[in-house]
């Protein structure tokens, strides 16, 4: 009997090694380099790039503007995320059953998500324009008089404007994920609950929600992380203003890195954000049972 030739077990690793090397080069190298830079005094405008120790990290804790930007970011997350979730869920229920033109309507609803966020922000800035934007004009029709609302200047209106734009653009994402989740719920369970006299809310709470919870958790996590790094819409609408009122962590990091040219300090901010997000994501994954 001829000896069976064993295939090289390491061959598969050789095959994928170029791709892994490239990924490490693109992902890991900048990460390590940024870490090194965060311990130095690198700015675009000074020639001194000496070792700074923990100075940049110590500065983080004394930087009130940074912590304010974190607070602004958290504010946007805790307002926008639940609204997107509830609206997305409501829309998913609306489109759960067959209706005429369902595929086309779903496609149209998805359009906001395929627009570049910076383009969406620039467009909404025009729509919110005090003199020429249709938003104020439509409000004026209902009010019966001109309403010169300054959506990107008035402190009382900037956050509603930003959150509205975010919700407009990304609720369809939630809707699509939740529609898929709801479509996979076993109908026999909901029908059985109905026969047993359970009303909609009890059926939803004890039958539907547990069934869609894993998928919904992932959607919440993804959107939460997206909202944490929100930049485009804010930059297009307010550039972080008025003052620094709508400055989020991403906007602040951009200003520090590309306007103030504080490369080392920006790297330190980035690692602070990585640390915070790692803690949050780990907690979320455990809490949501996604690690099982």
């Amino acid at each position: 009997m001829a000896a069976i030739a064993h295939p090289d077990r390491n061959f598969k690793y050789w095959l994928i090694s170029p791709a892994i090397f490239l990924l490490l080069l693109i992902g890991l190298f900048p990460l390590i380099f940024s870490l090194v830079v965060s311990f130095m005094r690198v700015t675009m405008l000074e020639t001194d790039t000496s070792f700074a120790g923990l100075a940049n990290f110590v500065q983080l804790f004394h930087d009130a503007r940074l912590w304010q930007s974190l607070a602004h970011t958290v504010l946007i997350i805790i307002v926008a995320l639940p609204i997107e979730l509830l609206l997305g869920l409501a829309m998913a229920y609306l489109f759960l059953n067959h209706m005429p033109g369902r595929p086309i309507l779903i496609s149209l609803l998805m359009l906001p998500t395929i627009i570049s966020p910076i383009v969406a922000g620039a467009t909404w800035r025009l729509l919110f324009d005090n003199r020429y934007g249709p938003i104020n004009q439509i409000i004026g029709w209902f009010a019966g008089h001109p309403v010169p609302a300054l959506w990107t200047v008035n402190p009382g209106l900037v956050y509603p404007a930003i959150i509205f734009c975010e919700i407009w653009q990304w609720t369809p994402f939630m809707f699509l994920i939740l529609l898929a989740a709801l479509s996979n719920v076993d109908r026999s369970l909901t029908e059985a609950a109905e026969i047993d006299g359970a009303r909609f809310w009890r059926s939803f709470r004890y039958v539907v929600l547990p069934a869609i919870f894993p998928v919904m958790s992932i959607a919440i996590l993804i959107r939460g992380l997206d909202l944490f790094r929100i930049f485009d819409i804010i930059w297009a609408l307010t550039s972080g203003g008025p003052g620094t009122m709508t400055e989020t962590v991403s906007v602040y990091a951009y200003v520090q890195g590309f306007r103030q040219f504080e490369s080392s300090y920006t790297a330190a901010i980035a690692f602070l954000v990585i640390a915070l997000l790692t803690v949050v994501v780990t907690w979320a994954i455990r809490r949501m049972g996604l690690a099982k």
Binding site: T47, N130, P148, L150, G241, P242, G243, R259
Partner: protein, 482 residues
């Protein structure tokens, strides 16, 4: 012995010299640049230029012309103004040498020069005989936007300066004059002080609002309003720093007065003026909805309709006030030069001579005169000869008043604040202005801004910044002579 033919030639040369200001046998700086650049035929150079209208100059006019004359291909790198400084520094720091020639805002020069990003141009000026034509650049630009620590780093190439544009027809209307006199007890006149401006603006709004006209409108978005604050603050007697201690003094009584005035004036301006940018304010003025405004020179040209029939300018609202516009210095009499551009050479360029020759040619008397008259670009007069050019004077009936006002403005103009890391100080000002429109207290805003300025100065180094500030403050255009 000189014969009659020689005498005729000499007389002709002398006559030409009298009209051109240089010996007829001496080549112009433009000619010199073209001849010297022909040795680089076939090469390609890059030049960083502001994206948008500004870059139509090198893409439609000067670039193709230079190629025709020298065989050198000019590749225009269009960059948004807000990104230009970053891109120039990134190219320099990386050593990539992607840029040969540059457009730089003069206020950036100390930072760029200190970082080593700009080539010192003195040797090239001497080599290619450009010194004499540099002297015919209007003094304010020549003396304040060209050198850092005594060395030439750029050629001023854009006569940016704020001018007041007002509705002559309204100011000369007997009915309006009478109504104004009845209302205020004063004669209606173009305001020369900010106190006068407040009276005139509010008065005209009361009189003309029923016709949809406001006394004035300004651009109030922070990037623009920052220049207006810098101008007005100094006209009112303010100083940015205490020269001895380098402590910021923008929160002085003058600063608070200016901020309070700016906020109060919004009340007689069109609703939503806090959001007005360059275009919104332009539209308001061209559509006849404001009696006064302050802005850069293009407003004056476009108000007369010059160039707005070009496709590139089809976004400019059609003027309804052609022939009705007057020109004056802004209140205080010392307008902000407000940005501007200078032509420089990147220190990492691999084609320094070719790049230098291109900018010499662009900036020369002959070529710059044509460029500032291009209807679709934003380059404004900056040489003495531009203000008196017969071609320019004939562009529209009132052009001579326009050029006279620009010339006067250039003579009395105030430099933009220019220190090390100027943008950090300006960023604080921009945020302060946006807080002002959001309704915060002016004193509180300016106190916070002054504290931030002091922190920036500490970080840069007080002594280091003090030297740079002292050099800037010593310039003739830094502070008005009170």
């Amino acid at each position: 012995m000189i014969n009659r033919r020689d005498f005729g030639k000499i007389s002709l040369a002398a006559g030409l010299a009298a009209t051109t200001g240089r010996p007829a046998w001496a080549a112009s700086a433009a000619d010199t640049a073209v001849k010297a650049a022909q040795q680089y035929k076939g090469r390609s150079i890059t030049i960083v230029w502001e994206a948008g209208l500004q870059s139509l100059d090198p893409t439609h006019f000067s670039g193709p012309k230079w190629k025709e004359l020298t065989g050198i291909d000019v590749r225009v790198i269009e960059v948004a103004t807000a990104e230009m400084f970053t891109k120039i520094m990134q190219d320099y720091k990386s050593g990539a040498g992607a840029y040969d020639a540059l457009n730089v805002i003069p206020a950036w020069m100390p930072d760029l020069a200190q970082a080593g990003a700009l080539e010192v141009l003195d040797p090239y000026v001497e080599k290619y005989g450009y010194a004499s034509e540099l002297q015919t650049i209007a003094p304010t630009y020549r003396d304040n936007q060209m050198k850092v620590s005594g060395k030439i780093y750029g050629f001023p190439d854009d006569g940016d300066v704020f001018l007041m544009y007002y509705r002559r027809d309204l100011f000369e209307d007997p009915a309006v004059q009478k109504a104004f006199k009845d209302k205020t007890g004063k004669d209606l006149a173009v305001p020369k002080t900010w106190a006068d401006f407040d009276v005139v603006g509010a008065g005209l709004t009361d009189i003309l609002k029923s016709k949809g006209i406001y006394g004035a409108s300004f651009f109030r978005q922070p990037p623009y309003a920052m220049y207006m604050f810098e101008e007005r603050f100094r006209n009112e007697g303010g100083k940015f720093f205490d020269a001895g201690t380098m402590k910021a003094t923008i929160n002085s009584d003058v600063g608070v007065k200016v901020f309070t005035g700016m906020r109060n004036e919004n009340k007689f301006m069109p609703p939503g003026v806090e959001q007005f940018g360059f275009v919104e304010n332009l539209a308001t003025f061209l559509q006849g909805q404001s009696a006064m405004t302050i802005s850069w020179p293009p407003y004056g040209r476009w108000a007369e309709g010059y160039g707005t029939d070009q496709e590139a300018l089809n976004w400019v609202p059609k003027t309804t006030i052609a022939g009705k516009v007057g020109y004056a210095l802004p209140p205080g009499g010392h307008p902000e030069l407000a940005a501007g551009f200078a032509l420089s050479v990147s220190s990492t360029s691999k084609n320094k001579d070719a790049a230098y020759l291109f900018i010499q040619w662009l900036n020369s008397e002959d070529v710059s005169r044509q460029r500032v008259q291009l209807p679709y670009t934003l380059r404004d007069p900056f040489r003495d000869s531009h203000y008196a050019d017969p071609g320019y004077l004939a562009l529209w009936p009132n052009a001579k008043d326009y050029l006279a006002a620009l010339k006067q403005a250039s003579q009395t103009g105030l430099l933009d604040l220019s220190l090390l890391q100027t943008d950090k100080y300006e960023e604080v000002l921009r945020q302060a202005i946006s807080k002002l429109w959001a309704g915060e207290d002016p004193k509180t805003i300016l106190d916070a801004a002054a504290t931030q300025w002091n922190d920036i100065t500490q970080k840069i180094g007080v002594d280091k910044q003090k030297m740079v500030y002292a050099a800037w403050a010593a310039e003739s255009g830094a502070y008005p002579k009170m």
